[in-house]
């Protein structure tokens, strides 16, 4: 029964990790940008939510109405300025610039909001309540909600990419930038849109993590970025639904690791990640070999 509980908790946590991962995956899929500041931006989302809630007193669950657009605008602006400038130079420059951004954000947060841990919506009924199945399994409403949000985000992204006008442009630019440009698509604007969407999911990830656990300036790299990356690799590079599978596998591995030894939770996840890297480098879902 303990193991069943672990697996259920792991699957639900996987939703959170998929939320971490889909923005990273989208930016790589469209722009070939590996954004090393991804996790720090999610943490910024968390702090923005905290600020919005403190100032406007809106319920924590509705904070996304403000935070997601704010982060999306930030994403568009960052993409059109710094990231695009780096992309125009080389892949190496993109890595160095996003790494610089990550270090700058993390240390600036340490300066301005201190290293103390924060969390969102402490004492909120929906966030703390849970329901039981049998005597051993307790499921938090929040985890179910986060999982549902992750699935909704992935469904929405899939629908957007396959059906909408901008989705078609994004796919066109991702496939062949020059050909798309010849057909009259401004790829810089399309990249900006894709970055805005990615940052919107990053904002959701930040809020979700803030409700689920505590965050501090260093959470962005040592938790969010690395877990997101592990989920992307386990699930298969460039696959949206793969990030959900990757997140679930990572979540289950962590829960089982924690069951064996409470301090081995994170390590167990990384060991599964490394095993996938060695045994199935193309990920669990992708059939295509990685270039």
């Amino acid at each position: 029964m303990v193991w069943v509980n672990d697996i259920i908790q792991g699957i639900l946590t996987g939703g959170l990790y998929a939320l971490f991962a889909c923005g990273l995956s989208l930016m790589f899929g469209v722009m070939k940008v590996v954004n090393l500041a991804h996790g720090d931006l999610a943490v910024i989302g968390g702090y923005v939510a905290l600020g919005v809630i403190t100032v406007t007193h809106i319920p924590v669950l509705w904070s996304f109405v403000i935070v997601v657009p704010v982060m999306a605008v930030l994403g568009y602006v960052l993409q059109r300025t710094v990231i695009q400038a780096a992309l125009d130079r080389s892949v190496l420059t993109t890595l160095m610039v996003t790494f610089g951004l990550s270090v700058v954000i993390e240390n600036a947060l340490l300066e301005f909001v201190s290293a103390n841990s924060q969390s969102l919506g402490v004492g909120n009924a929906i966030i703390t309540r849970s329901f039981s199945i049998g005597s051993q399994i307790q499921i938090a409403y929040l985890l179910v909600l986060i999982f549902a949000v992750a699935v909704a985000v992935l469904l929405g992204l899939q629908y957007f990419l396959s059906r909408s006008k901008y989705g078609r442009m994004i796919r066109a630019v991702a496939d062949d930038r020059e050909a798309a440009q010849l057909s009259g698509v401004d790829y810089r604007h399309v990249f900006g849109i894709a970055a805005a969407i990615a940052f919107g999911t990053v904002a959701l990830a930040g809020i979700a993590y803030g409700m689920y656990s505590q965050f501090a300036p260093t959470t962005g790299t040592d938790t969010i970025l690395l877990f997101a990356f592990a989920a992307v690799v386990i699930g298969g590079l460039g696959s949206l639904w793969g990030t959900l599978l990757g997140g679930v596998v990572l979540g289950v591995a962590q829960q089982i690791g924690a069951q064996i030894n409470i301090s081995d939770e994170v390590l167990a996840g990384y060991i599964v990640f490394l095993a996938v890297l060695v045994l199935r480098p193309q990920g669990l879902t992708s059939r295509r070999a990685q270039s």
Binding site: F28, V33, V34, L36, V82, A85, A86, R89, S90, V91, L92, T93, T94, L95, M96, V97, F99, G100, L101, V103, V104, N107, A108, L110, E111, T221, D222, L225, L226, F229, A230, V233, L237, S263, D264, V266, L267, Y270, I271, F273, L274, L277, V278, P281, Q290, S291
Partner: protein, 357 residues
Amino acid sequence: MSVVTDTSARSAEKIRVTRSRRNVAWTGVGALVVVVVLALFPYIVYSGTTTIMVQGFIVLTLACMWNLLAGYAGLVSVGQQMFVGLGAYFVLILALHGTSPFAGLPVAAIGCGVAAVPLWWLVSRLRSGYFAIATWVLAATVMLVIERFSSIGGGTGLPLPGLSGYDPAVLTADTYWIGLAVTVIALTATYLLLRGRLGLVLTAIRDDEVAARSSGARVGLARMLVFVVAAVGCGAAGGLNAISLLNVQPAAVFNVQWTAKMAFAVIIGGLGTIEGPILGTAVYMVLQQTLQSYNVWYLIVLGLVAMAVALFARRGLWGLVDDHLHVRLFPVGYWLWAPGSTGRRGIGLARRGGRPG
């Protein structure tokens, strides 16, 4: 092009190939003088100064290694802190078994090189951005594994034993000399590596990987060699850090800020040149010392400067020096001299640092 026609027309004459446009003997003499003067520092300056300089030696050694990785092998590693940490822990483990930390340092560095081989195997299939984050995950994993062993301090770490009998002044001076030695070895090794076959292969990869492969360059092997050498260097710097702090703490020695420091120093100084990391480390130390009373502001400023340099002055500060003065202190490329040519005209081969494109 004119060189080619000249050669066929006047085949009797020889094309001269030299390492540098100018005679670089003075560089060697100059380097020797600098090292001798630096070696005398413990007799001249206060111990506070030498302690700061040890920090500079650590950053310079790390920067040299990151430059080899990113500037020459195209490997942007964000996980070099794993070797900084492993180096510190190897020194600690040896010290716990009765070896003097100074004697343990070379063993620790070589141990890091040995450990780098299986670690390389784990991440070698990944490229660019994915390689970067994978090394980061690997560093986190290594830290978590180390933290499991309570005999070496678990999650809190241990003070470094074996140096308590030392006179503080002697310890400071010895640490300084070891630091100087580590840095000189790191710089010399980088220079010699890049002058040799490996340097040639790396330059070929940098210019065109596919062409290099088809010419028989063993690209994977070259990259692995660089990864191992960088592990040895970072391990030595990590061990040196443990000796200078007399303490090993997992969260501190495996901190990603180590990689931030080395990367920023290299990017600011000039990626893909040997001189760049030296200049970058100087900038790093000046900023760090000036802003040290403002907590982590020096890292914020360094990060912003590094981003600006990466975007707008891609060959770094040394690139600017090179453009204006045409100076190479450590020539690793070749110069072709057309037959009969004298003076300053020659064609630089593989002269430029940094990656094209």
